[in-house]
């Protein structure tokens, strides 16, 4: 038992300061992303969420260039990007995706420029793939405050947002300012994506946003349950990912695998597992329904 424990939690894991910071940041970011993600998946805006990740990358790399902390850039340009996407986006799904794609392409181009001009090493890796183990404890404060803001916004608008998501026309008829709600949601999304860029990097923030939420929505139809499930899955993915990254240092070669890889892998596995579970549950329900139908048919026949 002790050996298994030692194998799972390699020495020094719980004592290491960077690990503490990583666990806290990872946990907070996972929760914020999961909650935002549930709405994102329901609104069918996975592409938009991903695009904001790439816009964040441009912001982070730009901030690094002028000597600011990447977080400021991640969140700052993310908010600007959300505004631009809302402005040029139209109601029809295809045009919205096209507009999103163009913004994404331009943002990636800007990232290319900023990272190229930035001569310090490690910039590309940090921005695109995350720096959760090199984050300072000062970052925790910023992450927690911004995360709380995003969550509070979502909590405030969650009812009108749900209605506007399911049926924008009915929401508008009921006097809900659909456009304003949409903008508020986009801002929360921008902040959430910006924060998770710290953990897994801008490109992979999508994993924590979409994965746990999609897995949760495969397991349950009720929004409140889905939000809780998504948070649990997200935090588990982040923490297991961090643990595996730390452990990988002790396996085989001396090079760690990036933390973003482990987190994304766990999220992906969770999604596939949720799919299997839901299909198993569906087949069980179907079998039960058939058995019951047969039984009642027998009763009638008898």
């Amino acid at each position: 038992m002790h050996r298994i424990y030692g194998w799972v939690f390699e020495p020094g894991f719980f004592a290491s300061q960077p690990v503490h910071v990583a666990l806290v940041i990872g946990g907070v970011v996972a929760v914020v992303s999961a909650v935002t993600g549930v709405f994102t998946v329901m609104r069918g805006q996975s592409f938009g969420g991903h695009a904001l990740g790439d816009v964040s990358a441009a912001g982070g790399s730009g901030a690094l260039l002028i000597g600011f902390s990447p977080i400021a850039g991640f969140v700052g340009l993310g908010i600007v990007g959300a505004g631009v996407m809302d402005l040029i986006g139209v109601q029809r799904l295809r045009s919205r995706d096209l507009a999103t794609g163009i913004v994404l392409g331009a943002a990636i181009g800007m990232s290319a420029l900023f990272l190229y001009v930035n001569t310090s090493s490690g910039a590309t890796q940090q921005i695109l793939f995350g720096s959760i183990f090199t984050a300072s404890s000062a970052t925790i404060g910023v992450v927690v405050i911004l995360g709380a803001l995003a969550l509070a916004t979502l909590a405030a608008i969650c009812r009108p947002l749900l209605l506007a998501t399911v049926s924008p026309d009915i929401a508008a008829a009921r006097g809900i300012p659909v456009r304003l709600i949409g903008i508020a949601y986009m801002l929360a999304l921008a902040v959430s994506v910006g924060l998770s860029s710290v953990a897994t990097g801008a490109i992979l923030s999508t994993a924590l946003l979409i994965g746990p939420a999609a897995a949760a929505l495969r397991l349950t139809r009720r929004v409140s349950t889905a939000v809780v499930a998504a948070c649990l899955i997200g935090v588990a993915a982040a923490w297991v990912g961090i643990l595996l990254t730390y452990d990988s240092y002790y396996w085989g070669s001396a090079r760690r695998l990036p933390v973003s890889f482990f987190i994304v892998a766990v999220v992906f596995a969770a999604y596939l597992l949720a799919g299997l579970c839901s299909r198993w549950a569906v087949s069980r329900a179907a079998t039960a329904a058939v058995t019951q139908a047969v039984a009642s048919a027998d009763q009638i026949a008898a």
Partner: protein, 279 residues
């Protein structure tokens, strides 16, 4: 700018742009912007894996692009399309990051794979790129009618026996091959801009598919040529110019379309006035 070491770049760009323009036309038509963005990311993983194993980059690109396309197609049957695309995308990117972390040249490798490298095309790559390009164009020509049908009127296509799902897989495969051939110059993240900016602009200018495809090729060529020239002159990454120019092309197309709409909208006004005057 036209020195011998730049010739390869111009050649590859001239092969790549028309293919991107043609395939991109259907990407825009089908609203497949997200998969078109996701598949190149798979290509990135492939190139990283190829670098790790020491095999040809183009082979790694092609294999992983195809895997990504098929994965999105397969998973997309059971789950929501956009969710599946998002997750497949990040999984492939994360794989790429993992592969790259095992090689020694982590940083410059990521950069040139993701954002393109003007001088990154060797002469030995020209022929395979040309071959892939011809294969993609051939694929589009073969698929043209069923593809147009299933993109524009899916129900009619189904009635005619064109299976939407099969066409989707075939189309994603073509996108994958297009990606594989273009990543070396433009980079994994930016081939996507070439596939949606110029075609979107072309579609804003005309609704006739034949003309739109031709315009899409022209605009894509112009974009890539200007991007190479600008990158050479200012020493900035080619990807930046591709992204920016695609956005400009798209914006110009939308402005033009909006202007045309206001012009045609004014025409019925005298008719309306005559009706209201009579009333």
């Amino acid at each position: 700018m036209f020195a011998s070491f730049m010739i390869n770049t111009w050649l590859v760009a001239t092969i790549v742009a028309p293919v991107a323009g043609v395939v991109g036309f259907f990407v825009v038509l089908r609203g497949s912007a997200f998969p078109a963005h996701a598949i190149p990311k798979g290509a990135f993983a492939g190139a990283a894996g190829a670098a790790l194993l020491g095999v040809s980059t183009l082979l790694g690109l092609a294999v992983f692009s195809l895997l990504g396309a098929l994965g999105i197609g397969a998973l997309g049957r059971k789950g929501r399309h956009d969710v599946v695309t998002a997750l497949a995308l990040v999984m492939m990117l994360a794989l790429g990051a993992a592969f790259l972390s095992r090689t020694t040249e982590y940083e410059p490798e990521i950069y040139s794979l993701l954002f393109g490298e003007v001088l990154g095309v060797s002469t030995t790559e020209l022929l395979p790129v040309l071959g892939l390009g011809i294969a993609c164009i051939a694929g589009i020509i073969v698929l043209y009618r069923p593809l147009m049908l299933s993109s524009v009127v899916p129900e009619v296509a189904e009635a005619k026996g064109v299976r939407g799902h099969r066409i989707e897989i075939c189309f994603l495969i073509v996108v994958a091959l297009t990606t594989a051939m273009t990543v070396p110059v433009v980079g994994a993240l930016l081939i996507f801009s070439l596939m949606i900016g110029p075609p979107a602009a072309a579609r804003s200018l005309t609704s006739r598919p034949g003309l739109a495809i031709v315009l899409s090729i022209v605009i894509a060529l112009a974009t890539v040529w200007v991007a190479i020239a600008a990158s050479y002159l200012y020493n900035w990454p080619i990807g930046f110019f591709v992204g920016a120019l695609s956005a400009v092309a798209y914006g110009a197309g939308r402005v033009w379309a909006a202007w045309r709409r206001t012009r045609t909208a004014r025409i019925p006004a005298p008719a309306v006035a005559s009706v209201t005057a009579r009333a």
